[in-house]
């Protein structure tokens, strides 16, 4: 079936990411490095295990996680243009990094981003009781994004050129700064989110029928809201802190899935979006690494935007009535 094919493509992409790079490493050495035992040049082993694998795994899991979060946001807000960034959490991460870098605090970027994301999450959590409808949460998220942009601009205007550059580079997003530990955290989160989504697949299907109707069918709105917010906040916080703010993956992946696959039930969508997210992220990172080798250095967010913007445009253009 199609999903299986995409899964195989994703594995292929993963394999290519590990096998190819600046340095030529023979297949035998690759297997030796991965399976320990076998003659491997120590430097090659380091490259495979500490440079390529964390990067490829981070790309794959981030793509899956963001794709799932995008699906969650689009279902919850019943809006095809919703993405994980809609809650303002990624903006919180930017603010954290902006404060750390532009004010010169000695905090590593990933920690600053994590703190920023979770600060916004707490803000949302504290105010969540007052949010009567999903629309209110949406507006809150947008307002946070605007407020953060304003603060970041003020910070930028008084920053040194070098600090500014560091901040801008962080904003470009990359899978290449993830350590092995961070890659494994992303994988753990993937398992967690995947399991949760499969358990809640039925509730999410019911939610698409309407807010009131879903509640009469047994969907506990407040509890689902809390679970969605907490999981989105936690996962987005981790992904943003590891990779920087990533554009479009969350928003576009569900639409790419819908374009190629007819099934809309959440159980099917979770599997399909999971593999498509991984594949798209690996493809994007492939483009980034390829431009690196040609000394062109296209940032990850630029590649994602180039891939993602047409998808969003296509969604608006088609205006299909059964996107959900």
């Amino acid at each position: 079936m199609k999903t299986r094919l995409v899964f195989l493509l994703m594995l292929l992409a993963l394999g290519l990411h590990v096998a190819l790079g600046e340095v030529d490493i023979a297949w035998g050495e690759l297997l030796g490095a991965l399976l320990t035992g076998g003659e491997v040049n120590e430097m090659h082993a380091t490259i495979v295990k500490e440079v390529r694998m964390p990067r490829a795994i981070t790309a794959m899991t981030s793509g899956t996680l963001l794709g799932w979060l995008g699906l969650l946001m689009q279902t919850w807000f019943r809006n095809p243009l919703a993405g994980p960034g809609v809650l303002g959490i990624t903006s919180g991460g930017s603010l954290g990094v902006a404060l750390a870098v532009l004010l010169g605090w000695a905090l590593p970027a990933w920690m600053a981003a994590a703190v920023g994301c979770f600060a916004v999450l707490l803000l949302i959590g504290v105010g969540a009781r007052r949010f009567v409808s999903p629309v209110t949460t949406l507006v809150f998220g947008l307002m946070i994004s605007y407020a953060v942009s304003a603060v970041v601009t003020v910070l930028q205007s008084s920053a040194t050129a070098e600090a500014l550059q560091t901040f801008v580079f962080w904003g470009m997003g990359t899978f290449g700064k993830a350590s092995f530990l961070q890659a494994m955290s992303c994988m753990t989160l993937q398992v967690l989110l995947g399991m949760w989504m499969m358990r809640r697949a039925q509730w999410l299907d019911m939610w698409t029928l309407g807010e009131d109707l879903a509640q009469t069918m047994g969907v506990p709105k407040a509890r689902l809201h809390l679970e969605i917010l907490s999981l989105t906040g936690l996962i987005l916080g981790v992904v943003t802190s590891v990779c920087g703010p990533l554009a479009f993956l969350g928003l576009a992946t569900p639409h790419v899935y819908r374009f190629f696959h007819p099934k809309r039930g959440h159980m099917d969508a979770i599997q399909g979006i999971g593999v498509w997210g991984g594949l798209l992220a690996l493809l994007a990172d492939g483009a980034v690494r390829w431009t690196d080798s040609m000394a062109m250095h296209w940032p990850l967010n630029a590649v994602l935007a180039i891939l993602g913007a047409p998808v969003v445009l296509a969604v608006l253009w088609k205006r299909t009535h059964d996107w959900s």
């Binding site: 299907d205 019911m206 809309r264 039930g265 059964d322």
Partner: protein
């Protein structure tokens, strides 16, 4: 299972009517009439358990025990909802929608007209067809009470006829129906057309700020219009 309201005040912050205390008998077709804005939807939402009443209790009684509207999990097994408008932009197929509430085969056996639509997306059906699916789904969820909010609002004559047919079948299987509507003609026509010995309208109430006022169940159309004001 009779539906019992005990000193219930419905509304968001202020009660829309005086306290309601009444009982709706099981197995009957109960119509709640009201002009727009009188709170029919709020009443329905409160009875369904989506919105908490400002005061009072809503229960289903069955002999020895009774069920409270607060107990959502149990309540949903006995009370199902059909909103006035079928949901928009839903990509799930008819079979998938039905499966959310029960085995779709059961629904098809009761409502064979759904058969050909099983693999079509809900969004591709007409309003009338989609509404039939939503009614069938509600019947899968609950064998007892069906709550319908303005069910004929988006239906043409043929759609309405199908709807009445499904409701009749439900009542025949000892189900109960509560319908909130301002469609006097439709209700009246159905009252006229339905075979009197098989079933009848059990109660008609008019909802206003003073409460639910009963009308005779064989009231004429003029009487209904007068009552509605």
């Amino acid at each position: 299972m009779n539906l019992i309201l005990n000193n219930v005040n419905v509304g968001h912050k202020h009660p829309l009517t005086g306290p309601l205390t009444m009982s709706f008998g099981a197995g009957g077709m109960h119509v709640v009439l009201g002009a727009n804005g009188t709170g029919k939807t709020t009443l329905l939402r409160t009875v369904l358990g989506v919105q908490a009443p400002l005061a009072g209790h809503i229960t289903l009684d069955e002999g020895a025990g009774s069920l409270n509207a607060n107990d959502h999990r149990a309540w949903e097994k006995h009370v199902a909802f059909v909103p006035s408008m079928p949901p928009k932009d839903v990509g799930l197929t008819v079979a998938e929608v039905l499966s959310l509430s029960g085995p779709w085969q059961e629904a098809v056996s009761h409502h064979p007209q759904l058969g050909p639509w099983l693999n079509q997306r809900l969004s591709t059906l007409s309003d009338g067809q989609a509404q039939q699916v939503m009614v069938a789904r509600a019947m899968l969820q609950s064998n007892h009470w069906l709550m319908l909010d303005e069910p004929t609002a988006f239906l043409d004559v043929r759609g309405q006829r199908h709807l009445w047919g499904m409701l009749t079948a439900h009542l025949n299987r000892s189900g109960s129906v509560m319908m909130a509507t301002h469609d006097l003609r439709g209700v009246h026509r159905w009252m006229q057309e339905a075979p009197a010995d098989v079933l009848e309208v059990s109660s008609i109430h008019v909802l206003s700020s003073s409460g639910l006022s009963p009308l005779a169940s064989d009231a004429s159309l003029d009487a209904l219009e007068v009552a509605l004001g």
